[in-house]
Amino acid sequence: MQKTIMNGNQAAAHGVKLCRPQVISAFPITPQTSVVETIANFWAEGKLEGEFTVVDSEYSAMSYLIGASYSGARTFTATSSHGLAYMHEVLHWAAGSRLPIVMVNANRAMGAPWCLEPDQGDSLAQRDTGWMQIYCSSVQEILHTVIIAFRLAEKTRIPCMVVYDGFTLSHTYEPVDIPEQDKVDAFLPPPPEKPRLQPGEPVHHLPLADSFRMSALKRDHFQVMQQFPAMLSGMREEMEKTFGRSYSPLEGKEMEEAKTAVISSGAVSQTVESSLTYLNQEGEEKVGLIRIRLFRPFPARDLVSLLSSGVEKIVVVDRNLTGGSRGIFYREIRSYLHEAGYQGKVYELNLGGGIDITQELLSKCLEKIRQELSEEEIIWGVELYGG
């Protein structure tokens, strides 16, 4: 295993190179651009055997992959924010076609106005397209997750989006282990099935469907996605062998006997995690962290099992805001908690717009909820800063 230092974008590129992709399409957008630049370098140096095409827009980038995937090729692209939004229509198409496409998305706020901060609203706005969404919290995780994403996607024929914070992860250097190629080859064999379109085999692929066919497809899609958490768990040993560690849909940190749980995703979780020691030293009530990795499909059962019986307060960290509603994670998790029979309070810490989290901010937030705070009130990160 080669140990090196790289940033999130480079990690994504290295991850994808190990997967032997056959068609990659590329279009630049801050902050993912260096993903495709790194891949371009690999390709120019002959280190990548697949085809690399710079296309005319993100819409075309995804459409390109759809076409390539029809032929049975392994496909990849990277995008962000407005680029992701631009390909919204074709994200639906890719999922509906049940194609194993993998894409990385570096979170960046949707304008207007132009903003380069790591708001998660761009990827979350696509949560209904039928794609898997996995949120990474470290650069190492990005590299591994890209490989796992291909495995999951090709097994289930559901496209997968690997999401990480723009700049905070995409441009930040961390130490990374690069797994050996033969280990990755063992973990990720070529897809066994027939391609959708084969020359010389007449077939009508994706004819106009009636409601019965469509409903059946939707139901199947749902049911397959329900299996993911179990799939991930089932791959634990293999992940240990290949990566030296395994990944689960949700991760709990210091959740035993925790009274307050902070649920977060992405780079924010790193800060929360590193704050836990301090917080638990100082505070009366124990605070734990539940880190969301798999968001689509949401691993509700795993959430339930991580919540120890003593948890009374939950703070959901949202780095997004749906106008007319509130943080997306808040709303979803709250309903899962309700299903799970959770009786305690659920609060929202809203860092929409990409507000950075610090230990201090977290303290302030926990302080606030110690006072009698109505759940309806959103704890605005920007207010806590004094803004």
Binding site: K194, V203, L217, D220, Q223, Q226
Partner: protein
Amino acid sequence: MPLYPESEDRLTSLLQATNPTLSNYTGLWRYFTPSRGENISPCQAHCPLQNSIPGWIEKVKEGDWLNAWEIIKDYNPFPALTGQVCYRFCQEECNRGYYDQAINIGDLEKEIGNWRLKNYTRINNKTAGQYKVAVVGSGPAGLAFAYYLNYLGFKTTVWEKEQSAGGLLSSGIPWYRLPREVLEEELKLLQQEGVEFYTGAEVGKDVSLDELRCDYRAVLLAVGAQRSRKLGVPGEDLPGVLSGLHFLRRINLGEEIKIPKQVAVVGGGNAALDAACVASLNGAEKVTLLYRRSREEMPAHSVEVEAAEKAGVELKFQVAVTEVQGQGKVEKLTIADTTAASRGEKVEIREGSQYQMDVDMFIVAAGQESTLDELLPDQEINVYRNQQQNKNGVLVLDEPGEKKGALLTAGDALTGASTVPQAIFGGRQAALAVVRLLRLEQNTGETCSPALPVNEPKETVKYESLNTFYHSRQDAQPAPLAEAERCFSCGWCNHCGVCWVFCPDMAVSTAEEEYQLILDYCKGCGICARECPAGALTMKEVDRDAENHNER
């Protein structure tokens, strides 16, 4: 219920379709159905034989002379003859004439005939031979009758009073219009194919009609219209005055006639023009044709008129002969101007306009009449005299009895002087009539095409309705195959495949290059009918009731 691992077949069946759309019978959408054979070409419509001209032209185009013959013989068994002498009513109406030049149909017909004479004989082996039939007269009507009944297996005999057979083909039509060899070849073939000829045997003199009717199950009187009309003027019986028919017969049968210097011919029909032309070509210095009406009203065909003028005959119109004068032979004619009168009206002489004309020979070709009344007993004469305007070409004078054969008449004997193809038509119709009368169950539709029903004439294809885009302008071609290529094939599918090329629904089948319509899928858009270069397809309204009824 857990779906993982998901069955590939299940996903495939939801995301893919494999059944061809053939299960969707789009033919049910149709309001109009394309249909062939609704219209007829103008050439066929105007041919006295309703000859299936585009049909055999298609075969000539392919160089398939055998099948061209097979088609044409059902309408006209003597194309070598008609190709020479017919006035080619077809060419006058040919739609190609509106585009560049009319197709030289007559010459193509002649080629088929010549091929047949050189290459094809069919010895009849059919067994209806117990029936014996006879025809009196070996003109075109009689010969056609003989050909068809012989083909159908009847034992056929021709009775001809002259020494050589052919009727007017031999004695009336001059050599420059019908070379002798062609007629001789046709007659030879007829004999080879089984027809028996008795020449120099006159019915009514050498054998009686009753005797014939005892020996044969059917007798056709095709004696022609051999009685020349007289002018009814004084001096008409002088030597040197002869009928046109008589004059032509003597020349054509090879008699040595010295044609004098000055010849006058009276009459306006084909016979008069023929006689004038022959006289001019045979040594007369001056030949004058005298016709009592105007040029436009002349019944002769323009072909004849042009031939006569080319031969140097002077045509005088609106003149009549009032007296023939001479001592012991014709020397002068008294000629008067006539008042303008159209055909059917009586001609009036203008008094005081008479003048004299010197002549050495005076040919009267003022019309011919049938001589049937000389042959027929009273009962049948009445049938003949009482007949209505007959379009069927044949008249049954007496049905077959136990001991007596049927008696029919056709050709000029029935209609009066007309043309060769019309006579052949008569002979053909007579043959059909005999088959009907003798209650035979042959399928004569194959070998002897009946005339189109008189009550339901088909519409002729108009030039405007043709799509000429696929043709390029080109004058008449000397080579027959190249000339046949130019034919538009009006109303007749000549298997060009354009309908197949342009059908958006693949509702035209290419099986055996017949281009049949596949009505299960035809939506009735009408592109095929619109594009057909031959105008052979017409869109007919769908009869839903009939269709529903058929389905039940």
